[in-house]
Symmetry: none
Subunit: 254 residues, 2 copies
DNA sequence: TGTACTAGCCTGTATATACAACTTAGCGAG
DNA sequence: CTCGCTAAGTTGTATATACAGGCTAGTACA
């Protein structure tokens, strides 16, 4: 059942791994194509494809004549792009960890049943996870999953596999809706996110479909002082903004 | 000064051109790699790279053994879509009104100067407007505009023409960046939005460009209890959601 | 000492070739 | 007629090779 991944993908995974463990820090030099040819026994074109795709995906930056270097920030992502908190953190070159607060079987009630298009009392799984960026809590994930789409959900270890990765493995994402809200979090949320009573939280409510049916419904709480959504809009046919401009925006955010 | 584009990019441009003129419709078959080898006199690897990147970018879908086909269009709106509060309100069938709190000439300082890429002390206009939906305050718009792009800004009556309409009339929007944050508003913001001390606000910080230069920088404050951003995501090739499902989401928001 | 140049590394692109896996149409045996 | 096989076309991947062009450090020369 386990397909052997293509060689260029193995190279990408290897390098992403080194970035995510912190072995490679932003600005660090990534092995050159010729070094990968030597050490990994691949052709230069294969090494080229791996590094080029990592460049396109924003993990690294390549400079002809100098080399390939780990990126500092993620290139623009659409606000609505369905993103995975773990990938987002890793792409920033930071470490991601996850703590499972609850992983249980429940009967769908009220809002959850309505959102998932199931009858009251239908079996669902409930996940409550805290995601950490460099040890600091950055997201409280409160997720319900329709049980029959994910029968082995309770057996998963979500401290090593992220729910996003698990869910896309059992059901391909086909559609998603998001609502973004600002609110004052209750005591339980404040406790998990380590925030003050006077701090707002940014809440993303997301529902995703597969095969025409709602599969999962999640409320993602973030500390207002440590998290924001960013986006970039360019009408068709406009030249990309230069990295310099993006840096300007970074400063502006402080 | 004009570099010759690489061959694979020329192929991509050619195919994108055929799609944008309508010569190639969604679901239509795109020339295969071997056909491009013949007709364009390139190697198969070059044709492969062009089609593979068009696939990664969502223009086409490739199926091993069958061929390459134009994707169903990606006209879904992004959360990031630059929207106009007045249009949004009118679209909901509600009434929009606007109160001008301040409309003055200023010298750019600190964050504003940096965001607009101008020297400290450059002349800018400052607008402070409150937008109402059915008489209820829904947005506090705190906007700075580079003066030389909008010389008659102070003469405008923003209670009848919205700033968005005015600004697009003087300078075509070419690029925009947004940051979305949750925060606890200060007393002034609370007063204008008629909200309690214990209510969070959703803040959209938006910067827009025209002709390669920042033109305006706005902070849009919204009451957390009465405003939210919504979005919808559909990967290429997925059937659209039915109106019924959207209605379901509306209910869910209550 | 200072400047100019070059050797060596790096990425970027392009080609020719090869094999694997998937899909479909068509053909042939039963 | 139907089932199954095969051949041809397609994408997916991998390799070896080649040349162009950017960058840098170190060397040779003035």
């Amino acid at each position: 059942m386990n397909q052997a991944k293509p060689r260029y993908q193995q190279l990408k995974d290897l390098i992403i791994g080194r970035i995510s463990t912190g072995e490679l820090q932003p600005e660090d030099r990534v092995p050159s194509e010729n070094e990968l040819v030597e050490s990994m026994s691949v052709s230069r074109m294969t090494a080229n494809r791996a590094l080029r795709e990592l460049n396109d995906e924003g993990y690294v930056e390549r400079v002809a004549g100098r080399g390939t270097f780990v990126s500092d920030f993620r290139s623009q992502s659409h606000l609505l792009e369905v993103h995975n908190i773990a990938d987002e953190i890793l792409r920033r070159g930071h470490s991601h960890s996850c703590e499972v607060v609850r992983q249980s079987r429940q009967r769908a009630r009220g809002e959850v049943a309505k959102a998932l298009h199931v009858e009251q009392g239908t079996e669902v799984f409930h996940l409550l996870l805290v995601h950490f960026e460099n040890g600091v809590p950055i997201q409280l994930e409160d997720r319900h999953v329709v049980a029959r789409f994910a029968p082995d959900c309770l057996q998963q270890n979500f401290e090593s596999v992220t729910p996003s990765a698990y869910l896309t493995s059992i059901a391909p994402l086909q559609e998603a809706e998001q609502v973004v809200r600002a609110s004052l979090p209750n005591a339980a949320v404040r406790k998990h996110l380590h925030i003050e009573e006077t701090e707002a939280s940014l809440v993303v409510i997301r529902r995703t479909w597969s095969h025409g049916r709602p599969v999962t419904f999640a409320r993602l709480h973030h500390p207002g002082s440590r998290y924001e959504l960013t986006g970039h809009y360019t009408p068709p046919g406009t030249p990309r903004s230069t990295p310099e401009e993006v840096v300007q925006l970074e400063e502006l955010r402080q």
